[in-house]
Each structure stands twice: as C-alpha cells, then as structure tokens.
Amino acid sequence: MKTVLDLIENLAQVAEHGITEHDRRGKPKLARSYAEVVARARRIGAALLEAGVAPGDPVFLQLPNGLQLVETFLGAVLAGALPCCLAPPRALGGIEAFQQRIAGLFSAFPAAHLVADEETGEATGKPYLLPPDPADDAPACPPREVDPEEIAFLQLTSGTTQSPRGVRISHRALLANMNGITEGGRRQATDAYVSWLPLYHDMGLVGLMFCALYTQCPLYLFRPETFVARPLAWLQTIAGLKDRTVISTAPNFAYQHCVNALPPEKLAGLDLSNWRLAGCGAERVRPETVDAFVARFGPHGFRAEAFLPCYGMAEATLAVTFTLRDHPPLVVDGHVSCGRPVLDTEIVIRDEAGAPVPDGTDGQITVRGPALCSGYTGDATVPPPVRDGWLQTGDRGYLKDGELYVTGRYKDLIIVEGHNVDPDEIEFHGDQVVELPACRSGAFAVDVDGRERAVLVVECGGKETPEALAEWADAIQSRVASALGFTLYDLAFLRRGGLPTTSSGKVQRGKLRDRYLADALTFLWQQRALKETP
C-alpha cells in the first residue's frame, strides 16, 4: 500500500465493516459498509470532475461529520483534487467571521471549489457545489496512477483569516503516519474506532478516520457538538461495543470535561474495560487531568495504561510520538511523557543555534521522518516548516530515556480547546478597534485553572478616559467573541510604546507574557482587575 488510492482499492473489498454516522443527539443515523463507501466515493469523484473540479484544485468541504463528508473527501482524492475540511461557522454570532474566512480562502486559493449544503453555501455568498449524490448507476471516477510524492490533501493550520495557511500532505506522508500510528497503537483485528473529533482537525481526520480505513476496522462517527453537550454519550458508545476493543482519542480538555461534567452518580453501570487505547493529544497533556480521569473512571473499568498521551501536528501529518504501553503515563517534574517517536521518525532537541542538546536538556523539538508535510500553501509570508529535512516544530521540550516531554512553546500560538489560534488573529481586532497610529497589540496564552486562555494587551494614546477604554474593550471582546467564539480572559490597555518590541518593531509576545505574569506592566485600564474587584 503506497498511496491513498491503494488504500481505497483495498477497502472496496470490505463488506463486513464500515462507517456508522450519528445524528446530533448521538443516535445512529446511517451505516454503510466500506465497500459501499468506496463505490459511492468513486461516483462522487466522477461527479466532481463533471462539475468542473480539475486535478490539483483545492476542494473545501464544509460538511458535518458523517458518511457524506468521508465519501466526498475520498471522491476528491480519487479525482486528483486536494480535499480540505473546513470548520463550520461558530454558533452564537460566528456568521460574519465565517463569511470572511471563506472569502479569505477564495482569495488565497483562486482555483478552489467549495462543497456545502444549500443553507451554508448560500450564507457564504460565494459560488459553491452541493455535495454530489450520484445514483447507483452513475459513472465511476476513472482509475489513475499516482506517485506517492503527489499531494493527497490539505490541512488548514493556524494562519489567519487574511492569510489562511494549508499544510500539503503527500500520499507517502499519510501512509507512513498511519503505519506509525497503528504500529505504535499495537493494532488488533478486534479494534473499533469511536470518533467525535471533527475531520477538519488532524487528529480526527488522520488519527481516527484514516486509521480506521487503513486497518479496515469499524468507525463510529459522531458530531463534535454531541460530545461537548453530552459527554456521557461518548463513554456509553465505547462501553456499548462489548465485542470490540475500542480506540478513541481526544484533546486534554475533553477528558477534563468528562471529569467535570460526570459525577460518580451519573456513571452507574458504565463499563469501560474494552477501551483499549485512549489517545490524548492536540494540546498539552496535564498530569492533573490524567490523574482525575483515571480516578473517576478507573472504578468503571478504565485502565490507566490505556491512556496514551501523544504529540504531533498537522505539519507532521499528525503523530510524532504515539506509543501504547503496559504502564500508566509517566509524569516527571509535572510534565507528562508523550512517549517515543512513531516508526522511522526521529526527534532531536536543539538549542537556539540549532545544535543538538544532551538528554534531559530543554530545547526546540525538531523532527525528521517519512510523514513530514510537503510544505505550506497559501500564506507566502511564513518560512517553510521543514528545513534541511527537519521539521522546526516551534515547541519546547526535552528527551529523557527516549521519551518526549513537552514543556512549552517558542512559537506564538494559543491553543484553546485543541484548536490553534494565531495571536495575529486576536491582535487584528485590537488594532481594528483602536485605530491609532503606532499603537500595537500583543496576544498570548495563559494557564487558567488548567485551561489555556488568551490575553490581549493593547496600546492606546494614554489620554483616553477609563470609560472610553472600557468601551473599546467591549468592542474588542465582541469582535473576538464573534470571530473566534470565546472571550479573552483578560484585556488591558497601556500607553503607546509600552509593549516590548524587537529592534525592527515586532511585538515580543513571549516577553510581554512574562511581564504580564510578573505583574510588571503599568496598565491604564485592565478588565480582569475590574472584574475581580467586588
């Protein structure tokens, strides 16, 4: 198996397993065998070509987690186009931000096509294709040869609305990563995958959906909102698959959410002993969460050794480390071990000059291996992520006895509930509201009760009244809420020139964060302080 087309070809023979999709309330809605999924994907591929999609064109898929999305994704790969799943508009006020995001995508990728249902498609104000639903006797996509180095799909990574950034993933990289993940997870014929992770997230797309297809195991696909609103449904689905061993992965916040939302009295009768692999990645894995989850669900059959903290990123297709073990996760100095690198992948920790550092020393995590991406597309302003064969992750960590411990981040990135947010995306709103010459803003992440949250510090003229600053703050919070779906943990103003900058005038977000945490900034107005005053 060298390409996704080989994977699809093999899957066409599988009639005994397939995909079951669930509605928003978590009820099984539709099930198809893999053989049927492939047959439909082939017809959808032909329909996409017929609709004017050309090989190499990006095809953005704005569809909910379900069979239609999987089939359209595979159909686009068969057609030689570059599928890329998109996040939906955010509930409660996200419509404008969604329209801007789609407009940004079309200007960055002029050859792109958008596939969406009618309601969503109309709301974008852009041309769109309805998801093809060809009849059973419709023609199938003609077979074609592909080189494993050819790009199979795109994953959108942080970037901003104005400069969206796609990670290019080759057939070779995807196959190598699926092999690494399933080997590291000690694949078994009895496995079933349960996923509520969105397919626009690398962990949902590669780690669960594609790994299920690769191993030809059953896949139970849920909507993310079902899990968030009803976390017990996730655990009950896993527990209900009595004759299977279950693989289900989620970011740290999800495990914490289960602990917070599900007190012991709600868990009567729950038996999680068949949950073989509970991956935890996409954001920092917190020892408190691991302990709390094991303490709450251990009495319900959850085995601590099933907990598999891992590390990865879209630029490495997905997983960099992924090792199932016979013991509970290791915790050293408050950091959870993310395990060993996946097959054929190397990690080297480097100092600022790029030289490897000794075991146990903190530095930048760099990665080499067959699953690295083929670079970015779209945003031309960022340096290529892979240099001389090594992925510069921008993350900080150390290796000890061959295991990776992630300790922090060099890159400026804010991760809210498993989703990467570029600080630019937040600062943009500060700049748009204040609109004074030479006033800048800086956004960074802080830890609040075990969760990562965003803080924005904005420069102002210095003579504004507190009332005027409060009004600006309200306007900024409002814009951030509708664009990103969360509010800033804190928002503060300081006098023009108060932000630490480099000699070229770039805001030093790391330094700003350090000073903020050390209480070493003189604010003219600060939201958090006001909120905390009774």
């Binding site: 309330r25 955010r90 509930a91 006020g93 419509i95 609103a229 309200d474 809420a481």
Partner: protein, 79 residues
C-alpha cells in the same frame, strides 16, 4: 410571549446559570452572559430537544443575543 419563548428563557437561565432578569433581549450571549463553547453547545442541544426544533448551523451562527434566540423559537415552532 409565546410558550416556546417562555420555555427558551427558562432553558437560557438554567443552562447559562443566569438569573431571568438579566436575560434582556439585547444581552449578548457569549460576551454579556460570558458563556463558553461548552455551554453554547449545551444550550443549543437543550433548545432543540425541549422544544422539538432543529436549529441549523448557519441559523445558530446568526444568533447573537437573547432576542435572536427568542425570535428564532417564535418563528420556528416545534412539533
């Protein structure tokens, strides 16, 4: 106020943990009521289940205020 709007207010108050008197039509859900993404999704699911309605993604994204929610449930009666 229709029974559906009454019910929606009750759900808003319970799920968002906000007293009824703060649920004025112009109150913005994320910003003024300070609800996060978990509460947002819980709220939508509760509204759908209790009122027997379906709130499509785009409609949910257009709602910003308490008033928007009430308008939607008034104009889209359930089963």
């Amino acid at each position: 106020m229709t029974p559906a709007e009454e019910k929606a207010l009750e759900i808003l108050s319970t799920v968002c943990n906000v007293p009824r008197e703060k649920l004025v039509p112009e109150a913005r859900l994320i910003q003024d009521l300070d609800i996060d993404s978990v509460v947002t999704l819980d709220l939508l699911m509760e509204l759908e289940e209790s009122l027997g309605i379906d709130i499509p993604e785009v409609k949910a994204a257009e709602m910003q205020t308490v008033g928007d929610v009430l308008t939607y449930v008034r104009e889209n009666p359930g089963e």
